[in-house]
C-alpha cells in the first residue's frame, strides 16, 4: 500500500542572515494512519532537524498546528495523508508574523485581540467565598460554551480577504469573542459599550460577509450567524447613536 509522498515545504528562517524564502522538496514513505503530525516530525528527526513548525496537543484541540495544506488553511495534526494526493504543498498561514518555515506568531496576535475586545466578564459584583453560586439556565451555559470553543488557530483570519487587505481588521475570531460575551448574562456591558469596540470598519462593518472564515474553521463555529447577529445589533445601535446626537 505504501505510497511515496512528496512534500513541498516553504523554507525561510528570518534569524539566519543567509536565508532566503524558497520551497524545498522532501520525500517520505507513507505509513498506515499517517497524519501530517507524524510526517513532519519524521522529516525533522530523520532528514532536516532545522525544519521549523508547531505542534502541541497533536489531537486537534489546541490550535497550534494550523498551516496552509494544498492551498487551504487547516490543522496539520488532524490531516491524514491518505486524504491528500502524493504531492503535498505546505505553507505558513498568511496575515500572521512569520517565525520560521511553517511557524507563525498567533500568540501575540490573539493577546492583542483580548485587549481590544476586553475579553473578560465585565461585572460590578464581588465574589463571596461563603455564598452559593448565582444560578444560570443550562441552555444559556451551553450557548456560551458553543461560542467559546474557538481554539485560536488563526485559520479564519488567514482565510479572510479583509484581514489580508488591512491589518487593523479584528477578524472573525474576535467578533465571535464579542458575541460570546454578548450572550453571557454575567457580563454587564451594553450594546453601546460593544459598539465602542466593534462599531467601525476595523470591526463588524469591515467584514464583507464572504465567509471564507466559516468554511475553514476546524471547530465548525457558527461564525456566519455570529457575524450576522452582531451586524444587526450594531446597525441598530448605530442608528440610535445618530438620533442621540
Amino acid at each position: 500500500m505504501s505510497r511515496k509522498l512528496e512534500f513541498d515545504i516553504f523554507r525561510y528562517n528570518p534569524q539566519e542572515k543567509s536565508s532566503v524564502p524558497h520551497m524545498q522538496t522532501f520525500v517520505l514513505d507513507e505509513t498506515e494512519n499517517m497524519t501530517l503530525f507524524i510526517a513532519l516530525n519524521r522529516l525533522r528527526e530523520e532528514q532536516d532537524p532545522g525544519l521549523i513548525f508547531d505542534f502541541c496537543c497533536r489531537a486537534g484541540i489546541c490550535g497550534a498546528c494550523a498551516m496552509v495544506v494544498n492551498g487551504r488553511p487547516g490543522l496539520a495534526c488532524q490531516t491524514k495523508t491518505i486524504d491528500l494526493p502524493t504531492r503535498i504543498t505546505l505553507l505558513p498561514l498568511p496575515v500572521f508574523k512569520l517565525i520560521g518555515d511553517l511557524s507563525v506568531d498567533t500568540g501575540v496576535w490573539f493577546r492583542d485581540m483580548y485587549q481590544t475586545t476586553e475579553s473578560w466578564v465585565h461585572t460590578h459584583k464581588v465574589f463571596e467565598d461563603s455564598a452559593i453560586e448565582e444560578r444560570m439556565e443550562n441552555d444559556v451555559a451551553e450557548q456560551i460554551y458553543e461560542l467559546e470553543r474557538c481554539i485560536e488557530c488563526g485559520c479564519c483570519v488567514s482565510a479572510c480577504g479583509t484581514a489580508r487587505l488591512r491589518d487593523d481588521f479584528i477578524g472573525a475570531a474576535a467578533l465571535n469573542r464579542i458575541a460570546r460575551f454578548v450572550v453571557d448574562p454575567r457580563d454587564q456591558r451594553t450594546d453601546r459599550d460593544y459598539f465602542e469596540i466593534i462599531g467601525n470598519d476595523e470591526g463588524i462593518f469591515g467584514c464583507m460577509g464572504l465567509l471564507g472564515c466559516e468554511d475553514v474553521c476546524p471547530k465548525n463555529l457558527p461564525l456566519q450567524n455570529q457575524l450576522g447577529f452582531l451586524r444587526r445589533k450594531m446597525g441598530i445601535t448605530a442608528i440610535k447613536e445618530i438620533f442621540r446626537k
Binding site: Q15, N33, C56, R58, Q115, S119, E133, E134
Partner: protein, 617 residues
C-alpha cells in the same frame, strides 16, 4: 542581554500557573508568566472530562460533602498522599468552582425533571429537583462515591483555561509565550529567577524575581506512548532537579491509561468500556474476561493496563508500523449509541485513524497518562531546598495524589492548589527583600551560553538527540511501564546509564539558529535521561505494589515498610540519583486500609504508630 524583573516569575501558564499568577497580581504584585506556547494551548485545555468538587447539587451527588471527597482522594491515592494536603484540597474545591463561575466559566447546570443515564451499558432513570435549578451540576467519574465532577460539555479544560487566561488579561498580567526556561538562577540557598530561551529568536534572556513558581505540567513525553502534549517534556522538573538541592518526589509514581489510540496515543474515553466495549487480541478474541472473570474490561485503569501488557507479552498483540497494540471493539454498541453518547470517540476515529467504529476495530494500547511524580513541595507549595521557589499543578508533588490520581482530581488540583499556593506566595512576598547577585546571574547565563555553543559546535560529540531520546523512551517502555520487576528494572538502569553517556555527547545536525527545535530538544536531553533513571532506581528500591506502581515480584502493598515518600536528589557530578525517604503524611484522618478495588494483599503497618498520628476533625 535582555533582563526582566518581577516580584513573581511563574514558569508555565497552564491552569496552575495562571491561577497562582492571578492570586499574586490581585494583591498588587508584579507578575510575569512564561510559557512555551500561547497560554491557552497549555495541556490543561485538553482535559475534557471535568473537575471534582463536592457541591452536591445534582441528585446523584446528594449527600456528598468535602469529607466524602477527602476520603475518596485518600483511598484513591492508595494511602500514598499527604492527608493534610488532601484535606486542604477537598475543603477548598467547592469555593474554587464557584469562583470560576463568577469569573466566567459556563459550567453545565442542573436541569429539573426526569432524564436517564447509562451505567455499565444499562439504562437508569433519575429526576433532578426544581429547587436546584441552575446550580452547577456534576457527572459521574471512576473511583468517586458520588457524582462530583463539574464540567462544561466535552471541553472543561478548554473552558476553564479560557476564563483563567481572560482573568490574567483583565488584571494586566504579562503572559509571554514562546519562552522556555532552561535553568534556574540560584546560589544553592535562594532562587532568584531563571535563564530563558526565546523560542522566536533563539536568544537567551534573564528573568529576575523575588519568587519563582514552577507550574510546567507533567513529563509524559519521556515515554514513547503518552496521551500528553509534545510540550509536556519535564523542562520544569529538570531545571529544579539540576540545582542538586531540589528532590523529585515519588518519581516511580506514573499513571497509565489503557486506551490510547495507535499511532498518536490520543486518549479515547473510559466510557467506551463503561458502556460495554470490549478488548480483543490479534485473533480478535476477548481476553480480559479470562484474567478478571468478574470485572473484565471494567476493572480499574491500572489493572486493565497490566493485563493488556501481559497479553501482548504472551505474543497476542497486533503488529504495526508503530509497534504492537490490541483492539477496542465498540461495533456492537450500534450507530445510535456511537453517534450520540460516544460522539467524541467517533470523531477521533474519523479524524485520526480513518476508522468507522461502527464497522471497524480501534487500535489501542496502554499509554502514559499522568505524572504523580513531581517537584517536591511542602503543603504551602514551597519547594524543598531553595528559598523563594514554589511549585503547583501536575509539575509538583504537593502530594494529594500519592500513587494514583483519581479522574477529575488533577484539573481541580490546578486551580485549588494554584489558589492556596498563590496566597502563600503573597504571604512570602510581603516584606521580603532579596539580593540579586551579579556573579550568580553571570555564571548562570555563561553556563547556558556554553551549553548552546557546545551543542551547535559538536564540542562534546555527535550523538543525535532524537536517537538518544528514542533510546530513553524505549528503555522506559520496556522496564518502567505498567509492570516492573527486579531484572527488568536492572536492565533498564544499565541501558539508561549508557544513554546518559550518549546524552552528554549530543551535537546538533542543524546549525541551531533561531527558533530551532533540535536545540530545544538537546538542551533538555540530559535532564530527561536523569528523570528516567530516577524513575527506574526508585521503582527498583520500592519492593511493593502501590497504586500505579506494580511490582510483579512484590505484589502486596507493604504498609509496614513502605508508607514512605521517595525523594530523588541528583547532586552535581553524580552518575546516579540519591534516594532519601520521608514519612508519607504527618497525620492520619483515615488509617491505611483497603482501597475497594484492584484488591491485592496488604502487609499492615504497625497499628500503634498509625494510632499515634490519628487526628479527629
Amino acid at each position: 542581554m535582555q533582563t526582566y524583573y518581577s516580584d513573581l516569575l511563574v514558569i508555565g501558564a497552564g491552569l496552575a500557573g495562571e491561577r497562582v499568577a492571578v492570586e499574586a497580581a490581585q494583591e498588587g504584585f508584579d507578575v510575569i508568566c512564561l510559557s512555551i506556547v500561547p497560554a491557552r494551548r497549555s495541556h490543561s485545555s485538553a482535559a475534557q472530562g471535568g473537575m471534582q468538587a463536592a457541591l452536591g447539587n445534582c441528585v446523584k451527588g446528594e449527600g456528598d460533602s468535602v469529607d466524602v471527597h477527602f476520603g475518596d482522594t485518600v483511598r484513591g491515592s492508595d494511602w500514598g498522599c499527604d492527608q493534610e494536603v488532601a484535606r486542604l484540597f477537598a475543603d477548598a474545591a467547592p469555593i474554587e468552582m464557584r469562583r470560576l463561575a463568577h469569573w466566567g466559566v459556563p459550567w453545565n447546570r442542573v436541569v429539573p425533571g426526569k432524564s436517564f443515564y447509562f451505567k455499565g451499558g444499562e439504562k437508569f432513570d433519575k429526576e433532578e429537583k426544581e429547587e436546584k435549578r441552575g446550580l452547577i451540576t456534576a457527572r459521574s467519574f471512576g473511583g468517586t462515591a458520588k457524582w462530583r465532577t463539574c464540567y462544561t460539555s466535552d471541553g472543561t479544560g478548554h473552558a476553564v483555561m479560557c476564563t483563567m487566561d481572560n482573568r490574567c488579561a483583565q488584571l494586566g498580567i504579562t503572559v509571554l509565550d514562546r519562552k522556555e526556561a532552561i535553568s534556574l538562577i540560584h546560589d544553592g540557598d535562594t532562587c532568584t529567577g531563571a535563564v530563558v530561551r526565546c523560542l522566536r529568536t533563539g536568544e537567551l534572556e534573564v528573568y529576575l524575581s523575588k519568587s519563582t513558581a514552577i507550574c510546567t505540567g507533567g513529563f509524559g513525553r519521556i515515554y514513547k506512548a503518552t496521551t500528553n502534549a509534545v510540550i509536556c517534556d519535564g523542562g520544569g522538573h529538570i531545571i529544579a532537579h539540576d540545582t542538586g538541592v531540589v528532590p523529585i518526589g515519588n518519581p516511580e509514581a506514573i499513571q497509565f491509561h489503557p486506551t490510547g489510540i495507535v499511532p498518536t496515543d490520543i486518549l479515547v474515553t473510559e466510557g467506551c468500556r463503561g458502556d460495554g466495549g470490549t478488548l480483543l487480541d490479534v485473533n480478535e478474541e476477548r481476553f480480559m474476561n479470562i484474567y478478571e472473570p468478574e470485572k473484565a474490561e471494567l476493572a480499574s485503569r491500572d489493572v486493565v493496563s497490566r493485563w493488556m501488557t501481559h497479553h501482548m507479552r504472551e505474543g497476542k498483540g497486533v503488529k504495526s508500523a508503530y509497534g504492537e497494540h490490541l483492539w477496542l471493539d465498540i461495533r456492537h454498541l450500534g450507530d445510535k449509541h456511537i453517534s450520540t453518547k460516544l460522539r467524541e470517540v467517533d470523531e477521533i476515529c474519523k479524524n485520526f485513524l480513518n476508522v468507522d467504529p461502527r464497522t471497524q476495530l480501534i487500535p489501542v494500547r496502554p499509554t502514559q497518562h499522568y505524572t504523580m511524580a513531581g517537584v517536591r513541595t511542602n503543603k504551602d507549595g514551597a519547594v524543598y531546598g531553595l528559598k523563594g521557589l514554589f511549585s503547583a499543578g501536575e509539575a509538583a508533588c504537593w502530594d494529594m495524589h500519592g500513587f494514583n490520581r483519581l479522574g477529575g482530581n488533577s484539573l481541580a488540583e490546578t486551580v485549588v492548589a494554584g489558589g492556596i499556593i498563590g496566597v502563600k506566595i503573597v504571604e512570602f512576598l510581603k516584606g521580603y527583600e532579596t539580593q540579586f547577585k551579579t556573579d550568580v546571574i553571570a555564571d548562570a547565563v555563561r553556563k547556558q551560553e556554553e551549553r548552546m555553543h557546545n551543542l551547535a559546535h559538536k564540542t562534546n560529540g555527535t550523538e543525535n538527540v532524537y536517537r538518544v531520546r528514542e533510546e530513553l523512551q524505549e528503555a522506559l517502555m520496556q522496564g518502567c511501564f505498567v509492570f516492573r520487576s527486579d531484572p527488568g528494572l536492572k536492565t533498564c538502569i544499565e541501558t539508561l546509564k549508557g544513554t546518559l553517556e550518549k546524552a552528554r555527547k549530543v551535537g546538533l545536525v542543524s546549525n541551531g539558529v533561531g527558533a530551532n527545535h533540535e536545540m530545544a530538544a538537546a538542551l533538555k536531553i540530559v535532564g530527561q535521561v536523569k528523570l528516567g533513571l530516577c524513575i527506574a532506581q526508585a521503582a527498583l528500591v520500592r519492593t511493593e505494589s502501590r497504586g500505579s506502581h506494580n511490582r510483579e515480584d512484590f505484589t502486596e502493598r507493604n504498609d509496614r515498610d513502605w508508607l514512605k515518600r521517595t525523594l530523588a536528589y541528583w547532586p552535581e557530578g553524580n552518575d546516579m540519583p540519591e534516594l532519601k525517604y520521608e514519612e508519607v503524611t504527618p497525620v492520619y484522618e483515615i488509617p491505611p486500609g483497603d482501597r475497594g478495588y484492584g484488591a491485592g494483599k496488604i502487609i499492615e503497618a504497625d497499628k500503634a504508630e498509625i494510632e499515634a498520628k490519628m487526628i479527629k476533625r
